[in-house]
Every structure is written in structure tokens, then in C-alpha cells.
């Protein structure tokens, strides 16, 4: 089969590899009909996530048709159309039982590596480094889906792939970001980073009843998408001082909820600040460039919530803990337990509350994955979300 392989920093190739096989009784093999490149895949592309190996198959946003099931999978049949959550979860451990699917205690066979980096291990994730399990991803013709009896959502409606594909990650992740803010009537929500996740956070904040939603980015095409998703205001952080602008917009209060949908590779308009963190990152003395997170913390209203859904890998410097502590700020974060959200959000799509396909800017054949990664990384040609067809 053809698969998208990570071949080193800035190098992605589509190569012929053996077809996947069932390794565990609870596996299924899915023939991929659509897969997308996630903003977090760019952290791999740019070489910021440790424990990648040459030849790893990328991709954690995919859907398709079941072509084989293991003996332990009772709920799926060959021919079923499924959407597959990006975190892998067993459904049996106490984390899964409490709904914390993304910290499943059993699905990462390389928990030992993750423990070295983080103390305890999160769940296994498709195509996301060996620290997260060494599990091949879905930017391929076929993919092995572990614990297929727990994760995949069987869909029977006639929605297009583009309407359903984002249930795998970016829609639930944006939704989680908004849900963390426990939005009450009158709340102002600010969202940093208008990638697809940020756009879904905006759309979700709107569904959850926010009064005003402020989108922050530096690319016009992304800010335009944010308006389409429901942002009432947009800020270009290269034009304005974000914290000051937010203060003014809220008459000094600051937003009630601040959502960081940027993560470890943020940009800062002040060259010196950007250079400081970029240099520390290059010398591995921090893994993050956390400008958005610092700004979200100092901007949020007293007693407000900072919701972190952008991906971070390890350690950061100059964390404004004083602002956080003294102003009674709540921080909520986590990889999204997609298994918990996929069914209710599918219902939202069926009800017509949202049509997630608005994020798609390009559809390309899988063989064009190397070009798609570069376009997406360089924000070329309005590359908002690229869907690949195997």
C-alpha cells in the first residue's frame, strides 16, 4: 500500500510499504477514504516532537471502510463506514471508565518512554512518535485500528467525508476548548490561533452561548474563516497589542475564557522575544515557544479560565505563574478524549447545528502529501485544511 512516511525533519515521502496486519484480537483494518493533515502534524514535520523514527507513517485524522476485524471486535463488520478518534483507548482501565480516554492506561505500549519525559504516560496516538506508542498513522491506504471495539464511530447517514472527517480530532478538540470555559450568559471568549482547531473552538463557543468571541491570528484568510465560524471580532496580533486590545474591548475586565489553540510553535510580533524562545528551543533548553499561552494567561479576567488545547511537548520558560496564582485563574487542558465527544457531536452535525466541512480549503491525492505538508506549513494559497484522498 501507499503511505505517508516521516523521513526526517522537513521530509515527508509517500512510499510503498507492506499492508497492515491484525496484531491484537481487538484490532480492525480500515481502508482509508479520507485523511487530513493536522496542525499538530506540523510539529512532527518541523522536528519538534522527540522520539520520531525514519519511516514512521503519519496521520491521526482519518475515516474509511472496515475491511478486516479481529476476533475480539464484536460491534463492527466488514463494509462499515467508520470515523476513528485520534487517541487510542482500551475502554477497560479506570481512566477510560471515568471518560479520560486520552490518558488510557493500556493503549501505549511505549509508556516507558513517555514516563521518562512526563512522569506518567498518556494514551497511544496514531502516527505521533514512539513516545506515543510507535503506532502507524492513517495518511495511508490502509491502517490498523487498535481497540476497534471502543473508538470508531459507525456512521450510517449520507453526509460527505468532509462533513464527518473532523470528528476524529479538530472538531472535538475545539469543542473541548470551549467547554472548558464553562460559558455563562454574557461571557466573552478569546481564542488564540485560527487553525482548524481554533475555528472549531470559535464555532463551539458560539454553540455554547458565548456573548462575544474574539479570534486572534495574523493571517487574513484564517481570520476570515473565523468570522465564518462565528467570531464577533478578530485581532491581528501583528497590528495590535493583544492584551491591551482585549482590555479595551471588555472595558478592562479581560475575556472570561481564553483558549490557546496555538501550542508549541507560536510566533511573537516582537523580534527580540521571538528570538529568545526560538534560540532556547533550538538548543533544546525548552521545547516550547509559548507566546500565545503567556498572553492568554495575562489577558484573562480575574477568576477566569485559560483552556489549553494547542499541543505542547515538554518544558517551557518564563511561565507567568504569579499572574495565574494571584488572580484565581483556572487552567484546564488535555488531549481530547474524542471517544467521549464523538457521538454527541455527530448528533450536532445531524441536527444541522454545524457543518464542519467549512474548514476544508484543499483536497488532494495522497501522493501529493509532501507538497501538501509544505503548503500547509508555509500557509500558502490559503491552506486552511487539506484533505488527502488515498
Amino acid at each position: 500500500m501507499r503511505a505517508t512516511q516521516w523521513m526526517g525533519k522537513y521530509r515527508v515521502e509517500v512510499n510503498e510499504v507492506p499492508d497492515p496486519q491484525i496484531l491484537n484480537d481487538r484490532d480492525a483494518i480500515v481502508q482509508v477514504s479520507s485523511t487530513a493533515i493536522c496542525g499538530s502534524d506540523l510539529h512532527l514535520f518541523d522536528g519538534f516532537i522527540p522520539t520520531m523514527r525514519r519511516g514512521d507513517i503519519l496521520g491521526h485524522e482519518f475515516m474509511g471502510e472496515v475491511v478486516e476485524v479481529g476476533r475480539g471486535v464484536g460491534n463492527l463488520r466488514v463494509g462499515d463506514r467508520v470515523v476513528v478518534p485520534f487517541p487510542i483507548a482500551c475502554g477497560n482501565c479506570s481512566a477510560c471508565r471515568r471518560g479520560f480516554f486520552s490518558v488510557c492506561e493500556n493503549s501505549n505500549p511505549n509508556a516507558g518512554i513517555a514516563e521518562k519525559f512526563m512522569g506518567h504516560s498518556p494514551c497511544g496516538i496514531f502516527g505521533y512518535s514512539h513516545m506515543m506508542g510507535g503506532i502507524p498513522g492513517g495518511q495511508a491506504e490502509y491502517v490498523r485500528v487498535p481497540f476497534a471495539d471502543v473508538g470508531p464511530l459507525k456512521v450510517d447517514s449520507d453526509h460527505t467525508d468532509e462533513q464527518l472527517l473532523f470528528l476524529t480530532d479538530v472538531f472535538p478538540t475545539g469543542y473541548l476548548g470551549a467547554e472548558h470555559c464553562e460559558i455563562r450568559p454574557g461571557d466573552v471568549i478569546a481564542v488564540w490561533g485560527m487553525g482548524a482547531v481554533g475555528q472549531f473552538a470559535v464555532a463551539s463557543a458560539k454553540m455554547l452561548g458565548a456573548e462575544r468571541i474574539i479570534a486572534i491570528d495574523r493571517f487574513d484568510y484564517r481570520l476570515a474563516k473565523a468570522r465564518e465560524a462565528g467570531a464577533t471580532d478578530v485581532l491581528d496580533y501583528e497590528e495590535v497589542d493583544v492584551t491591551e486590545a482585549l482590555k479595551e474591548m471588555t472595558a478592562g475586565r479581560g475575556p472570561d475564557g481564553c483558549i490557546d489553540a496555538v501550542g508549541m510553535e507560536a510566533h511573537h510580533p516582537t523580534t527580540a522575544v521571538h528570538a529568545y524562545d526560538r534560540a532556547k528551543q533550538a538548543t533544546m533548553s525548552e521545547t516550547e515557544r509559548p507566546h500565545a499561552l503567556r498572553e492568554a494567561i495575562t489577558s484573562v479576567a480575574n477568576g477566569g479560565t485559560v483552556s489549553i488545547i494547542g499541543v505542547y511537548g515538554g518544558l517551557m520558560d518564563k511561565f507567568p505563574i504569579g499572574s495565574l496564582m494571584n488572580r484565581s485563574i483556572t487552567v484546564r487542558t488535555g488531549q481530547t478524549p474524542v471517544q467521549k465527544y464523538i457521538r454527541p457531536l455527530y448528533e450536532r452535525i445531524r441536527n444541522g447545528d454545524i457543518d464542519p466541512s467549512f474548514v476544508v480549503s484543499h483536497t488532494m491525492p495522497l501522493t501529493k502529501a509532501p507538497k501538501a505538508y509544505r503548503m500547509f506549513r508555509d500557509k500558502k494559497d490559503g491552506a486552511n485544511k487539506i484533505v488527502l484522498k488515498p
Binding site: 523514527r53 479506570s94 502507524p136
Partner: protein
């Protein structure tokens, strides 16, 4: 790994570490002053060697300050060297220098006695716990004790029940190839992999067996690798399943050196037990050992260092 040194022994080790650190710093910063105090400031050789001795003192100061009494052995070795040199020097010193050197020698001898006592007690300390009654089969074997724990989301009776059928242990114990049970499970025959592609075998007998709570066993006479172990099952608070605590002790072939070499290849015994428990939890909770293309064996320390690419293999 569990440390078996008593708090008092660790305190003594720290004092010795402090003494080493003080001496080391003095020798490095002011070798002439130290030589004068010891009455050997007339020797150029002493003046050039003292900073090296200072560096030696700093080297064992660190682990001793961390409360590891075993490192007193390196102090004992240093003491022997120092006393030999000082004894030789005493023979050709007279007057004030002789008196100073004699005082210094007596002080070093006093410290040496404390060093030797601490080192010997650290050795005895290792011979307590489950390893204490292991028959050691040769001069190159030393007792290794490991412990590990996990929480399994199943009731104690079920978790105990799975473990009690020893023939199922190879499902999750990566290095155990086969366990045959005899006499209704009271005795068993074990075949396990050892470093260097060898296998080792032994018979074991159950020592304690309290259903739902505890199993302990030990190898019987003639074992290739004498060993003993226990596994304890306690209800985790608030309905969180069962806390499983394993303690093993065995005579490591090749002694501490063998253990160090094994560790280089990702086969540290404590890691092996942790991996085994990870797989045990997986088997009980999910019904299978969880494998991936990067780690086809399931959780396995050695594989963490030599991951296969996350892509299907032919």
C-alpha cells in the same frame, strides 16, 4: 530497586561524605596548607599529588552525601593507600614535622575505622529482606532485590486468581518461557531466558498462599538461579481495583557487574518486573498484551531503545 540501608547508616554515610568533601576542597584549594598541617610540606611529590587525592575525595563525597553507604568501600581503599604512604613518610621525618604527621596518621586511621565499619554494615544491610536467606551459589553471584507495583481495575479475587495459575505467567512475564504446575499448584517447574541466549530452570514451592491477598514462593535446592518472591493484592481505595505489589529476590549471575552489564542492554531487573506488571495489567483489563508496529512484543524495556519504525513490516 528498594534501598535497605538503615537511616542511621545513611546518616553515617552522609557524615563521611561531608568529611570527604571538606578534605577534597581543602586539598584542591590549598595543597600547601594541607601538606604543612600533615608535616609533609617538604616533599614536591606530595604537593603535586595532593590535588589528585582531593579530586578522589570529591568523587566519592557525592554518593556518600546522597546517603549510599556502599561507597564507603572506595574510602576504605583510599585510606589504605594514604596510610601506606603516610607510614613510609613517618620513617624519615623528625621533630615538628614528625609530630604533625603522627597526628595526621592517627586521624586518618580513626576515619579509616569508621569507613570500614560503615562499608561492612552496608554489606550486611543488603543481606536483609527477601534476599537474606538466598543460598548464593558462587563468589560472583550477589543477591538482587527488585520490587514494582501497579493498579489493576479488577477485584482482588480475580487478579489473585489469574496469577495463582502459574502456567499463565508466561503470558505476561517476558523472560519466563514456561511454568509447569505440579502437586495441584503447590510446586512448579520454571524455564526462563537468561542473558546470552541461555535458559535457566528451577523448581519452586509455594510458601504462603492466602486467596485474594498474597502468594509467596521460593526456589528449591538445585535451582540454576536461586530466587524467592511474593505478590500482594490489596483493594485499591474507593473501588479503584486492586493494588498489586511484587517483590523478587534472586542470585544474579555475574553479581553486581552482571547487573550493570544487563542494564546497559536495557535489561535492568527492576525494569523487567515493571514491564511484566504493565503487561499483566493489560492482559487483565483488556484481555491482551498491547502490541504496536514499533513495539511488536508489547511493553518491553529493551525495545524502547531499539524501536522499529511505526509502519507495517513484511
Amino acid at each position: 530497586m528498594s534501598s535497605t540501608a538503615s537511616p542511621r547508616l545513611r546518616r553515617t554515610a552522609r557524615l563521611l561524605g561531608a568529611a570527604s568533601a571538606g578534605l577534597g576542597v581543602a586539598m584542591l584549594r590549598d595543597p600547601v596548607g594541607v601538606a604543612r598541617t600533615a608535616g609533609v610540606d617538604d616533599s614536591d611529590t606530595v604537593l603535586s599529588v595532593l590535588p589528585l587525592v582531593g579530586a578522589r575525595e570529591l568523587a566519592h563525597a557525592l554518593p556518600l552525601l546522597a546517603g549510599r553507604p556502599g561507597w564507603a568501600w572506595t574510602r576504605v581503599a583510599g585510606d589504605v593507600m594514604d596510610l601506606a604512604v603516610m607510614g613510609a613518610a613517618l620513617a624519615d621525618r623528625r621533630g615538628e614535622r614528625y609530630r604533625r604527621l603522627r597526628t595526621a596518621t592517627i586521624a586518618v586511621a580513626g576515619l579509616a575505622a569508621v569507613d570500614l565499619g560503615t562499608a561492612l554494615r552496608s554489606r550486611r544491610a543488603r543481606r536483609t529482606g527477601p534476599a537474606a536467606d538466598l543460598p548464593l551459589t558462587g563468589p560472583l553471584t550477589s543477591p538482587i532485590e527488585v520490587s514494582a507495583s501497579t493498579t489493576v481495575n479488577k477485584p482482588p479475587a480475580e487478579v489473585y486468581g489469574y496469577w495463582r495459575d502459574f502456567s499463565r505467567l508466561p503470558t505476561f512475564m517476558a523472560h519466563v518461557r514456561q511454568v509447569a504446575t505440579l502437586e495441584g499448584g503447590r510446586r512448579s517447574h520454571w524455564v526462563a531466558e537468561a542473558p546470552g541466549r541461555r535458559t535457566v530452570e528451577w523448581d519452586a514451592e509455594v510458601v504462603e498462599d492466602e486467596p485474594g491477598r498474597l502468594i509467596s514462593w521460593r526456589s528449591t535446592a538445585g535451582a540454576d538461579v536461586p530466587n524467592t518472591g511474593s505478590v500482594e493484592f490489596t483493594p485499591a481505595p474507593g473501588d479503584r481495583g486492586t493494588e498489586v505489589r511484587v517483590r523478587l529476590a534472586y542470585a544474579q549471575p555475574g553479581g553486581r557487574l552482571g547487573k550493570a552489564v544487563a542494564k546497559l542492554f536495557g535489561e535492568a531487573p527492576d525494569q523487567q518486573v515493571r514491564d511484566d506488571l504493565t503487561r499483566f495489567k493489560q492482559v487483565l483489563e483488556t484481555g491482551q498484551v498491547v502490541r504496536s508496529e514499533g513495539t511488536p512484543e508489547g511493553p518491553f524495556a529493551k525495545r524502547l531503545l531499539t524501536q522499529r519504525p511505526a509502519a507495517p513490516h513484511a
